[in-house]
Amino acid sequence: MATGLTLKELSKKEMLLTAGHRMCAGCGAPIVVKMVLLASEYPLIAANATGCLEVSTCISEYTAWKIPWIHNAFENAAATISGVETMYRSLKKQGKIDKEIKFIAFGGDGGTYDIGLQSLSGAMERGHDMLYVCYDNGAYMNTGIQRSSATPFGADTTTCPAGDVIQGKPQQRKDMTRIMAAHGIPYVAQASPSHWMDLMKKVRKALDIKGPKFMNIISPCNRGWRSRTDDAIMLSKLAVETCYWPLYEIENGVTKVTFKPKEKKPLKDFIKPQGRFKHLFSPENEGMLKTFQEMIDREWEALLKASGAE
């Protein structure tokens, strides 16, 4: 009997990522992970790419994970879980195991969009029965806020610092969710911890589908975003409401927007509370702000079109 996705029911379930981990106060990642783990009705095995989540949840001799958990080098979470999952299938075929177990890999945007893209693409194409979850905070926060290919246009990072010449990151972020969808895998979704019900429904759906699945989940980082520690959920909500981070899923090639804001808020509502975009609000960068808004508009229009809504 499945646990209902209500706060009352969920509060009775065991937390599979315990308190005592060393993630920063106000970090979005452990919230995301807890939601993902809580949504599952199956026993889970997780692989973790190197990153904040990995280093902070397995401080030597301790672990915050109440599930079997494996870490490997930065670029290898998808490959590692591929090996684990394949061995599981083999054991199952040999009749040595009969439990229904699900496999998840967690990676940040660095380990997913950049250095881990090759192994992730390989795992998706081979068709392992796994869910890959990217917690996307838009930079290499673990090593000191260097840009990643998920870093949004205009953001200030330590390797694309806003100064007299460069005004933050000059490039557009990579659309990882659509790249994963282009693998033709059965399920791809984008989610946000602000919309927890939507997020958990997607996880549940993903785990019930056989084959490779990918979820991209926005994860505010107050250190890197230069925002207040208590603004994580507010910012992830604004990301959705400004259509900076639309909530949607692509199931067997069919795109569905799972939350459409009644009124699309201007992008600046989302970026204004973040110090990494501070320079964009100086008068001479007005053009950049406009370009950024246009990028978001274009992506949103394309998504609506793909979903058949417009």
Binding site: T143, G144, T159
Partner: protein
């Protein structure tokens, strides 16, 4: 008078590289060397050079391969796990005889290890971490002045030998701050890069490759490389020796371990103990002949390293059984204290003189 500055080790390397004419840097974040790409990201812009943050260490070292082939003074930096990822292309650089400067600010290993200073990549650096018969010229600075000087020298030597040069530092050197003199860069006379892929109008096209399939072709290429490494052994050995002449015990250490060991050695010498200090500055070529000339049955050596005993093997090879070679070291990013070494050396001295 040269300008005296107070900077962080990683930034010293970055600034020295720029002043030595490096105009191409590609890198990827990894602790404890992030200050290098961070510094380069704005400083290269000022210097009119190129900074690229790659999507992985693999990409970074291959960008260096490309830039070097085009004739640029190119550099990358990383720390242990990232350097491991680069090994394939390090071998290619050597095979194709391309100059490059590679900085390894070592951290504790193996595996993901930790982010503390360490010296456990000695074997990888000096024995050729990738495939094939090759060597890197390896410098092991032990203070920020040397970081400055040797980084500059590394670019000259890379061009001179058309071979990658490695700066083998560690997390401590990278993170620490101390004053140093900003010695100006004086470019030596170096041959023109006539081999570079710089556009072949009015000349024959150049070819840069490491693939040699013809009968005996690759062996011939290897003989050229070996000749180059032999020449390095002849001309590039650098070391520092203190009080070795009448010493009964000689401490051999490189990099940050040498700096720590030197404190203990100096203390013992002040107490009248006949103890010497020998510090290889080049790890390849290794100052083997110099160590051999110091060896003898009345003298013992102790190597001190932040690893399980790697340079130890080269010291033993060098003294060739003529002296006992002992070892003291710590692994896993643990930093030895001068007191620890002092006590250890004192024990050795007692057993040496007494019974």
């Amino acid at each position: 008078m040269n300008k005296k500055l107070f900077m962080r080790g990683n930034e010293v390397i970055a600034e020295a590289a720029i002043q030595a004419g490096c105009r191409f840097y590609a890198g990827y974040p990894i602790t404890p060397q992030n200050e290098i790409p961070e510094y380069m990201s704005w400083r290269m812009e000022e210097a009119g050079g190129v900074f690229i943050q790659a999507e992985s260490e693999l990409a970074a070292i291959n960008m260096v391969y490309g830039a070097s082939a085009a004739g640029a003074r190119a550099m990358t930096s990383s720390s242990s796990p990232g350097i491991s990822l680069m090994q394939e292309t390090v071998s290619y650089l050597c095979g194709a005889e391309l100059p490059a400067v590679i900085v390894n600010m070592q951290r504790g290993g193996p595996g993901l290890g930790n982010i503390s200073g360490s010296q456990s990549d000695y074997f990888q650096a000096v024995k050729g971490g990738g495939h094939g018969d090759y060597k890197l010229l390896v410098y092991a600075p032990y203070n920020l002045q040397e970081l400055w000087n040797l980084t500059m020298l590394a670019f000259d030597k890379a061009d001179e030998y058309r071979n990658p040069v490695m700066i083998l530092g560690d997390g401590v050197l990278g993170q620490m701050m101390e004053p140093f003199y900003q010695m100006p860069y004086i470019k030596p006379a170096l041959p023109e890069k006539t081999w570079a892929l710089s556009g072949c109008r009015d000349r024959e096209p150049n070819v840069i490759k490491s693939l040699y399939m013809g009968e005996g072709e690759l062996e011939f290429r290897n003989s050229i490389l070996q000749e180059k490494f032999r020449k390095m052994k002849e001309q590039e050995v650098r070391f520092e020796a203190v009080g070795v002449e009448d010493a009964k015990l000689i401490v051999v250490a490189f990099g940050i371990a040498a700096r720590i060991a030197l404190s203990a050695v100096n203390r013992l010498r002040r107490e009248g103990v006949k103890i010497g200090f020998f510090r290889p500055i080049t790890l390849f070529p290794f100052p083997a002949n110099e160590l051999l000339s110091l060896a003898g049955s009345a003298r013992r050596f102790v190597t001190i390293e932040l690893n399980a005993g790697q340079m130890l093997e080269d010291v033993r090879l060098a003294v060739n059984g003529k002296s006992d070679v002992l070892f003291y070291g710590r692994t896993g990013g643990m930093i030895i204290t001068p007191e620890e070494i002092y006590e250890d050396l004192q024990r050795l001295r007692v057993s040496n003189s007494g019974q």
